[in-house]
């Protein structure tokens, strides 16, 4: 007779436990890093005992969570790459900068059109200096960007140390309260590659490896060096070629022309621009424009820069797309394992009904006992 009472009692206990778990989940709906608990019911062998026991486990396994950490880390890598690449791309594709190169090319054409015009010559010098300044600005910008990346790397390292301390503190006093650990792991995954395993005593073994923002900042540093090198090479080649052609010319005073650019700055006066060719040597104010026509820059420099921008922009778009894909995958895991209040509301109803049904079993059993007692009475 007492079997049904015990079975009902086990159901009530299990329902009570399930309601406790649901309450715990609801209470932690906004707790960062909290993985909801799932109730697991297990039937007791019947006969002889029957009934049910309830237990709970986190909704995610270490394996799944490690997968999510990899996605978060990869997403953070690409997101950081995109964030850091964008200002460089915007700077290099700036109209002011590119127009400076065009304006210089056009000023040389104007000089060829009117080789003795001092206005045309002064314009060439002004436009050449503007162009040189633009390249210096780009150089300074890239230098500053590299310094910023170094500073950002230091901050990231500090943050990694902070999060590792959280995990170390946890390992000193391991508990089942893992939301703080999860939060630290998610944060750590954004900063660097990370995977973990849980020991039997509840402590976490943490392994970090290259990835996340740390790797992005390292790669960005290397990318900036490449861009800086390409820009410098493009301008140096342009300068050298221009200087070589210029030095073959003859200036307005009939003298052999000198080097035009020195470190991006014009090193001649307007009258010293070698617009004429060697046939005008010794002839002042020559209308000869043969060398000016040779000096007129072709589109090599502009195309080199356009190619650098296009490569950067392609990489930026790729990073943005991949960053979103991997971050979405990481966030999906967090979304799947977080608390959904509607789901918990359904659980509340479900477990309350379970509780009431089991109470009904006990009540029925009680009534049956009463029936027997009444017969005796």
């Amino acid at each position: 007779m007492s079997g049904a009472l015990d079975i009902g009692l086990s159901g009530i206990r299990a329902a009570q436990y399930a309601l406790d778990v649901t309450g715990h989940n609801i209470a932690n709906a906004s707790t960062p890093g909290f993985n909801k608990l799932l109730v697991e019911f297990k039937d007791q062998p019947f006969p002889p005992i029957g009934g049910v026991t309830a237990s709970s486990r986190p909704s995610s396994s270490a394996f799944n969570q490690n997968q999510a950490l990899t996605n978060i880390s990869t997403g953070a890598y690409y997101d950081k790459m995109a964030t850091e690449t964008k200002p460089v791309t915007d700077m290099l594709s700036n109209d002011t900068f590119l127009n400076a190169i065009r304006d210089f090319a056009n000023s040389i054409q104007d000089l060829a059109d009117n080789p003795t015009s001092m206005v045309a010559r002064e314009t060439v010098v002004a436009k050449a200096n503007t162009m040189g300044d633009s390249f210096n600005t780009i150089g300074n910008f890239l230098q500053q960007a590299k310094q910023n990346i170094s500073q950002a790397s230091n901050l990231v390292q500090q943050e990694i140390t902070t999060q590792m301390q959280v995990l170390k503190d946890f390992n000193e006093h391991p508990s089942s309260n893992t939301s703080q650990v999860n939060q630290a792991l998610y944060k750590l995954a954004e900063l660097t590659g990370v995977r973990y395993s849980v020991n039997s005593n509840g402590t976490y073994d943490i392994q970090t490896f290259s990835g996340g923002q740390t790797k992005a900042l390292q790669d960005m540093q290397s990318l900036l060096n490449q861009v800086d090198g390409k820009v410098k090479t493009a301008f140096d080649q342009f300068q050298n070629t221009f200087n070589q052609v210029h030095a073959q010319g003859v200036d307005l005073n009939g003298n052999q022309a000198q080097v035009f650019f020195t470190n991006g700055k014009v090193s001649v006066t307007p009258d010293q621009i070698g617009a004429a060719d060697i046939s005008a040597l010794g002839v002042a104010n020559s209308q000869n424009n043969v060398n000016a026509l040779k000096l007129a820059p072709d589109s090599t420099l502009r195309n080199s820069l356009a190619n650098i921008v296009t490569d950067l922009a392609g990489s930026l778009n790729n990073s943005s797309m991949l960053g979103k894909t991997y971050s979405d995958a990481g966030n999906k895991f967090i979304a799947d394992n977080g608390v959904n209040l509607d789901e918990e509301a359904v659980n509340l109803v479900k477990f309350r009904q379970m509780y009431e049904a089991n109470a009904q079993v006990i009540k029925t059993q009680d009534e049956m006992f009463q029936t027997l007692i009444n017969i005796r009475a």
Partner: protein, 273 residues
């Protein structure tokens, strides 16, 4: 897909922020290189070509004007020589007329352009002809770039216009003949005729150069229009911007209402008790 309540709230915030960012992008379009590198590349290279073609157009215009002035001067040379020959053929040769013709031609040969540079001095900036018609310029001509691979001579040197044509030597023969014999000898008349013919040829050459520049300029203009269309293809269209903005604004309001309904309406908890 199952979503945690925390994610639902986060998504709501993200979508609202995303729409706000898109509305801002419509009003202040971001740099094309970041958003659409292929479009940026097309726009950049096209506008680069437009800038280059504009420069060629300016060069061509300058060369055109210079050659037109040269052609006008050469026409005057041709007319002066022709008038002189007509006068020599029609009536007894007049020394003053011949000398006046030489002075006129010397003045033309030493004409300066609007920049104050002699038109017929080659690449020299000094006055090319002296009183006797001796040439101190050179035979260089000013080449101008009018397309990526085409340079055209935009001037005609005094060597070619006056020395090679034998204008002054023919005139000197005529003047010498009239001074000494009162008549013009057949060789002198022939030299004058040759000078007229050669001068006409040089003038024709100037006309041909003007035509060549005009033709190239037409090609450049057509090409420039094509590149301009390409370069401006990706520029924001104000009408489209306003339409898109209105659409996004409607979407934004709908999204706010949707979330207001989602988060303010009764939850399942309201139906449990």
């Amino acid at each position: 897909m199952r979503l945690s309540t925390l994610t639902l709230h986060t998504n709501a915030q993200n979508r609202i922020a995303d729409l706000q960012a898109r509305m801002n992008d419509v009003l202040n379009p971001p740099n094309l290189s970041s958003t659409d590198p292929v479009a940026w590349d097309t726009k950049y290279r096209s506008s680069d070509s437009v800038a280059q073609l504009s420069q060629f157009a300016r060069n061509a215009s300058s060369a055109h004007d210079r050659l037109l002035t040269t052609q006008t001067a050469l026409n005057s040379v041709f007319k002066t020589l022709t008038d002189l020959k007509t006068q020599l053929m029609a009536s007894p040769p007049d020394l003053t007329t011949a000398k006046n013709a030489k002075d006129t031609l010397l003045a033309i040969a030493n004409t300066k352009d609007s920049q104050g540079v002699p038109m017929f001095s080659g690449s020299m900036s000094t006055t090319p002809f002296d009183q006797n018609g001796n040439y101190s310029g050179n035979s260089q001509e000013l080449n101008i770039q009018i397309s990526e691979n085409l340079q055209v001579p935009a001037s005609i040197s005094g060597q070619r216009a006056f020395v090679d044509t034998g204008v002054f030597s023919a005139l000197d023969s005529v003047i010498n003949d009239i001074s000494t014999t009162g008549l013009v000898s057949t060789p002198s008349l022939q030299a004058l005729t040759d000078a007229i013919t050669k001068s006409g040829n040089v003038q024709t050459e100037a006309v041909l150069r003007v035509d060549q520049i005009s033709s190239q300029n037409t090609l450049n203009t057509n090409l420039k229009e094509l590149y301009t269309t390409q370069a401006t293809k990706f520029d924001p269209d104000p009408v489209e911007q306003i339409t898109t903005y209105n659409m996004l604004q409607t979407q934004y309001e709908a999204l706010l209402k949707s979330y207001a309904v989602t988060f303010k309406s009764p939850t399942l908890f309201d139906y449990i008790s």
